[in-house]
């Protein structure tokens, strides 16, 4: 289900799904009129994360290059803090995702089904891409040689 190597806790899983969602999908999940009151602790801000890789895939670390990343931190009236960190520059999405992250910690039942649906759709898209790639897999056949 997860896409990252170490995304294991439920919170990490929903954050991974939210990171891959569009702003419109998050607005559908939590319409702007239905948002709880919140305080912005870190306004949505675009910066970068330096992407590290490993020589040969397994060796010493090196810096591959940066990736734009947008983050936001909010706090609900309950005191729960919601975080979002995602690739790209979409600040509206970052704020929505942070609110949803906080709500999921406070009352998971409300949004968990919608997040599960989103996760399923993302998985289906990955699956379709993989099946299209699988159609290009080579079937080798050996020609019989006469002796």
């Amino acid at each position: 289900m997860t896409t990252g190597a170490t995304s294991t806790t439920p919170r990490q899983r929903w954050m991974a799904i939210l990171a891959r969602a569009s702003a419109a999908e998050l607005d559908d999940m939590l319409p702007r009129g239905a948002r709880p009151a919140f305080t912005t602790l870190k306004p949505a801000e675009t910066g970068t994360v330096m992407v590290q890789a490993r020589a040969g895939g397994t060796g010493d670390r090196f810096n591959l290059g940066e990736a734009t990343t947008t983050r936001c931190v909010v706090r609900l009236e309950s005191g729960t803090m919601g975080f979002s960190y995602a690739l790209g520059t979409d600040r509206a999405k970052a704020e929505s995702a942070a609110i949803i992250d906080a709500l999921m910690q406070d009352a998971p039942d409300q949004l968990a089904p919608a997040i599960a649906r989103l996760g399923k759709a993302q998985q289906a898209a990955r699956d379709l891409a993989s099946r299209k790639a699988a159609a290009t897999k080579v079937d080798f056949f050996t020609l019989v040689r006469g002796e």
Binding site: T39, L41, P43, R75
Partner: protein, 200 residues
């Protein structure tokens, strides 16, 4: 983080630029009192001036050493807003906050850089009771026409001796910023103490 976390800068770009300007002025006019604007309410223990400087300067690449007396709320607040990792040892720090309490490390415990990279040194923010009303000390050096007298109050015993030793290593050495309330005094490593050692 059980306590609700206090906000940082409202306008990070403008407020950090303003604080940076004040720090620049403080370090280029050593001894002059610079009053920082802004309306930060950091957790108890951290002065608004110290808080503004750290929000301006610290980031994920600058390990921060905090005096043990500052407590977890200050550490949590700074880590949240600056992403700076906490240094386990003074020698790892790029920024440090001291409160002047007994038992805190001396200036020499923090990195002084080396002759090739004197910039690889720490900036030490020393919080004190006030920037006026203490015992007068006469300063000289770059940024001071002739001499300048300051009288910060509530400095730890032996501070001026430590500073004199520190500044003798120039271009190596730490830079010190005294912070009280919303005001600061810059004491860069280029400074000379004119007051006789025995009088300090």
């Amino acid at each position: 983080m059980d306590q609700p976390l206090a906000a940082g800068f409202t306008d990070a770009v403008l407020e950090s630029q303003e604080a940076f300007r004040h720090l620049l002025d403080a370090l280029s006019h050593p001894g002059r009192i610079e009053r920082l604007g802004g309306a930060l309410t950091p957790p108890p223990g951290l002065t608004p001036a110290g808080a503004a400087l750290l929000l301006t300067l610290a980031d994920y690449e600058t390990p921060l050493w905090l005096a043990p007396g500052l407590g977890a709320p200050v550490a949590d607040w700074l880590r949240f807003h600056t992403a700076a990792p906490l240094a386990q040892q003074p020698a790892e720090a790029r920024f440090a906050v001291l409160t002047g309490a007994p038992g805190e490390p001396e200036l020499a415990a923090f990195p002084a850089g080396d002759d090739l990279y004197p910039d690889r040194s720490a900036t030490v923010i020393l919080q004190c009771a006030g920037l006026e009303g203490g015992r007068p000390v006469t300063l000289a050096g770059p940024g001071i026409p002739d001499t300048r007298q300051i009288a910060p109050a509530g400095l730890p015993a032996g501070f001026w001796r430590q500073l004199a030793l520190n500044n003798r290593q120039y271009p190596r050495g730490v830079d010190v910023v005294l912070a009280a309330g919303s005001s600061i005094i810059g004491l860069p490593r280029s400074l000379r103490l004119e007051t006789a050692q025995g009088a300090l």
